[in-house]
């Protein structure tokens, strides 16, 4: 038999996601897929995968154990605390996980989603061309639900044997948190708002409310009043749509968005920034900046070029233990966890290679 990961513990929100369920939007089928496609693709790219099925870990965390054969795995996204058999690892890394070894993720001081990918992808059942979990319609993943303890996730075939040179941290500067405003392309219903209202939107500060899930993020901030009412005849909905309903507050539609909707959409957060937005936590604030479609496209292509170079951004785990890295590590408050005795500088990154 091949290798698999068995779930020992899964916090709420851990799901299987791949590139998404495409081709059925016209039938009301949500594409789902990763909340932060940039982190998802980075973890997969470190293994030579394209958009293979991976585990999306939420702030609820995850613990898995390797069974069968050794597995090449990679993880990235958010400031999560990853540990192999209790030993702390970098925030983004590629490992060869031996049978019997556990891998655990806990939320750190920031970020909402991390991705655990396996070489060859997880071979959970395919529904309508995809393994992506959409819990509302009970599709994909395992029985269309979130992961839970006892779930067994078989990995695709792999021929990885060169463990010694394989383990590495993923030094991906594009995953760093940036305070910049999120870029927005106006439309299609920007004409439902006055010029003054649109300036208020782009000058305002918005706070993410606790009303967040894989479908949409609700923000609080200055009122965005409609000039022409807010009931429109339903039309299509794309990822990142900024929908303004009767409460005059932005609702940004995310991976589990419905394919059509009946509220005016002021604009769309650009694809290049949507993963960064997905990593926000309730209480955090942000602003928005208008860009042209051409700028949005250029930003997306640039981001994809960066991800395509992930393999050039791997640094061997042992050599990662430099004073510079330790210095950086000490600056990350969230890493210090008083409940964990092994968190001393000497053991940081000390993998069993």
């Amino acid at each position: 038999m091949g290798g698999c990961l068995r779930v020992l513990r899964a916090g709420p929100g851990a799901t299987i996601q791949d590139g998404g369920r495409h081709g059925y939007l016209r039938y009301g089928v949500t594409p789902a897929g990763p909340m932060d496609w940039v982190a998802f693709r980075t973890a997969n790219s470190a293994l030579g995968n394209d958009r293979a099925a991976a585990i999306e870990v939420s702030v609820g965390g995850l613990e898995v154990i390797c069974e069968g054969t050794p597995l090449a795995v990679a993880f990235a996204g958010g400031a999560f605390l990853w540990r192999r058999d209790g030993v702390l690892l970098p925030q983004a890394a590629r490992l060869l996980l031996e049978p019997g070894k556990t891998l655990a993720a806990r939320a750190g001081d920031s970020g909402a989603f991390a991705y655990l990918a396996v070489e060859g992808g997880f071979e959970t059942p395919v529904t309508m061309g995809s393994r992506a979990t959409h819990t509302r319609s009970a599709m994909g993943g395992i029985e269309g639900r979130m992961l839970r303890a006892g779930d067994v996730l078989p990995a695709g075939p792999t021929e990885r044997l060169d463990g010694a040179s394989f383990e590495a941290m993923i030094d991906a500067p594009w995953l760093a948190r940036e305070p910049d405003p999120f870029r927005v392309v106006l439309g299609p219903q920007d004409n439902y708002f006055t010029v003054e209202t649109l300036s208020a939107f782009f000058e305002g500060q918005f706070t993410l409310t606790p009303v967040v899930d894989r479908m949409a993020y609700r923000f609080d901030g200055p009122d965005i009043a409609h000039a022409r009412g807010y009931d429109i005849v339903s039309d299509g909905v794309a990822l990142g749509a900024i929908q303004i309903a009767g409460d005059k507050k932005p609702l940004i539609l995310m991976a589990d968005r419905q394919p059509t909707g009946g509220y005016p959409k002021l604009g769309h957060v650009v694809r290049a920034d949507i993963g960064r937005l997905a990593q926000m936590r309730p209480g955090e604030t942000c602003g928005f900046r208008a860009v042209s479609v051409a700028e949005a496209r250029a930003a997306l292509l640039a981001r994809e070029d960066e991800i395509a170079a992930t393999l050039q951004c791997l640094r061997p785990l042992r050599r990662a233990l430099t004073s510079e890295r330790l210095f950086e590590a000490n600056l990350i408050d969230g890493v210090v966890d008083p409940l964990d005795s092994e968190q001393t500088g000497g053991e940081f990154y000390e993998g069993k290679i």
């Binding site: 309508m128 439309g187 429109i232 005849v233 039309d235 299509g236 794309a238 990822l239 749509a241 292509l301």
Partner: protein, 243 residues
């Protein structure tokens, strides 16, 4: 001559071609004609199209296509006479209005000042068009509801209506494919599964298809529910003659 559509960006990866802002079969015909033309043209980079009441959303891969190039190509595309990929069909959907189904009939009748039988009679007698799917897989949005049944959405959503619920609100009708809390009113229920992933043909009706309802009693409802559970359509259908 029909007015030119509006091209509206929805981010860098989608473009909305808007033919109007109302529910109108003439507008919807244009949406479907463009949809059919794009299905046939198979332009590189176009990944998915989504017809709605009044517009077509075109999803594309920005690595292969720009919004500008797509809008230019669309302006040069002769789609007015494009025929849909599949022939339009008429679906005869069994509908049960007897208790325990259609639990909001009394509320609707009271709000509209109509006798119960008038509410069900109007709903049953209409000829509907499938305008779009939305909200959830197989959630079928219909036009053609008689004006007398126009009722505003509830201010506060009601508890989940069961799968197969026949809902009305805002001058529209729909067939729910799964249970959900809703601001609409449930006035009947069909045993037909508009979507069943276990069936070879997962979705029953095509967008643009027509649909009418045929009354059944609750005993027939139960028998047909069991058959639908076993994978049967439980709905008769025929091709519409369009020459």
């Amino acid at each position: 001559m029909l007015p030119k559509p509006r091209y509206l960006p929805a981010g860098e990866s989608a473009l909305v071609v808007e033919f109007g802002d109302t529910i109108d079969p003439k507008i919807h015909d244009q949406v479907l004609a463009l949809d059919a033309a794009l299905q046939q043209a198979k332009w590189g980079g176009v990944t998915e199209t989504v017809p709605t009441y009044r517009s077509l959303m075109i999803h594309f891969d920005p690595r292969r296509l720009t919004t500008e190039a797509l809008a230019d190509a669309l302006a040069g595309l002769d789609y007015a006479s494009a025929l849909p990929r599949t022939r339009r069909q008429l679906w005869r959907i069994p509908a049960c209005y007897d208790p325990p189904h259609g639990e909001d009939i009394a509320e609707v009748a009271a709000l509209l000042g109509l006798p119960h039988e008038r509410v069900t009679g109007l709903h049953l007698g209409a000829r509907y068009r499938v305008y779009m799917y939305g909200f959830a897989p197989g959630f079928t949005f219909l036009g053609g509801l008689p004006n007398e049944l126009t009722i505003p959405r509830r201010a506060v959503p009601r508890p989940p209506a069961p799968p197969g619920s026949l809902l009305i609100a805002g001058g529209q009708a729909l067939i729910a494919s799964c249970a959900m809390p809703t601001g609409w009113y449930g006035i009947g229920r069909t045993p037909v599964k508009m979507f069943d992933p276990r069936r070879e043909q997962g979705f029953l009706a095509g967008i643009g298809d027509e649909l009418c309802l045929e009354r059944i009693d609750s005993a027939a409802f139960d028998a047909m529910s069991a058959a639908a559970e076993a994978g049967e359509f439980c709905a008769r259908h025929e091709y519409l003659d369009e020459t």
